[in-house]
Symmetry: C2
Subunit: 196 residues, 2 copies
């Protein structure tokens, strides 16, 4: 199963933001919402065999991680606002250290940071997306892959080193540097093609 | 220059909708907003050499077409709400038959329907995206292409016939049927790769 991990360095962590200003008042949660859309939506279907972790590192209660599990998701729509409502609801729940709680079908919240999330996948195949990587259409990909992405900002050097600890394979999607949600869309389509 | 034409069969045409309910109150304008995002946004840049036409066919004042011209765009942000505000503003202007008026930098409104928009590109190369087309990564593409897509719904038979009148080349992006915005993201990335 492809798993995406997207870091929101400034994204709000208590859910006390307005749904009417997602790009302005949330520390750019909107970027991560578009990543959720790209992870799950096909034209008339949902990708049940995919997951995304949103690692939120902004004020005032970081870190928190929201996990969307495609196999269980029920009330997901493709627009930013309705997905933001699911995230807001998850962030407003009381969650203790070391636990992960279910806040709506297929949506979970925990107090994990990036390192704890990556450790879940210890021993699995990690992908490092970079313009200098191997072109993805030359790769023979199975789909049991972990892809770590920055949201508004690139990963910090510390975060890059956490990913490198999992010996990622460098892959290039194309010549341009793209938004995280566009990377996810292209990556999943290439997986679809390589499974044909 | 790649040009995308996306049909919003039910999308509101007078701009009298709330920005707080884009998926519910607009006839699914949200789908077309994501297409605008996919057409223009690179990680830290805008694709200046791209255009998108949103052909709106919903109540109460159809047809109207909103054109976004990458070469002129100034106030475009990647989130749905701020792009919706540009569309709402364009729809609320008085525009007469046969004219196209500029409503903000790079944004235009006219009373054209699909046929009139396609006729602008008479003699240019049209692309028909379909699962049974030639795989895009086997094509040698120049980027002077017109791609016509349905938004919430597939093109009707009449609309399909309008496109077929321009002798489109059938191209496949992959095995799954995808949302229009995801098609645009993948298509542009393939153009980037073929220009390398």
């Amino acid at each position: 199963m492809p798993v995406f991990v997207v870091v929101g360095h400034r994204v709000n962590t208590d859910g006390l933001f307005t749904l009417n200003d997602l790009a302005g008042s949330t520390g750019r949660l909107d970027i991560l919402l578009r990543c959720v859309n790209s992870t799950f939506f096909l034209s008339n279907d949902i990708r049940r065999d995919a997951e995304i972790y949103l690692v939120l590192l902004g004020e005032p209660d970081a870190p928190k991680t929201i996990r969307f599990a495609g196999s269980e998701i029920k009330y997901l729509n493709p627009d930013e606002r309705s997905t933001a409502a699911l995230v807001k609801n998850a962030l407003m729940q009381n969650v203790g250290a070391g636990e992960e709680i279910n806040t709506s079908p297929g949506v979970y919240v925990s107090r994990r940071g990036l390192k704890e999330v990556l450790d879940v996948f210890e021993g699995r195949k990690f992908i490092h997306l970079m313009e200098a990587g191997t072109p993805i259409n030359n790769m023979d990909l199975d789909d049991d892959l972990i892809v770590v992405l920055g949201g508004q900002y690139d990963l910090t050097e510390d975060e890059e080193n956490m990913v490198k600890g999992h010996e990622p394979t460098p892959i290039s999607l194309g010549p341009n540097k793209l938004h995280a949600n566009h990377c996810i869309t292209i990556f999943l389509n290439e997986l679809d093609i390589s499974k044909q």
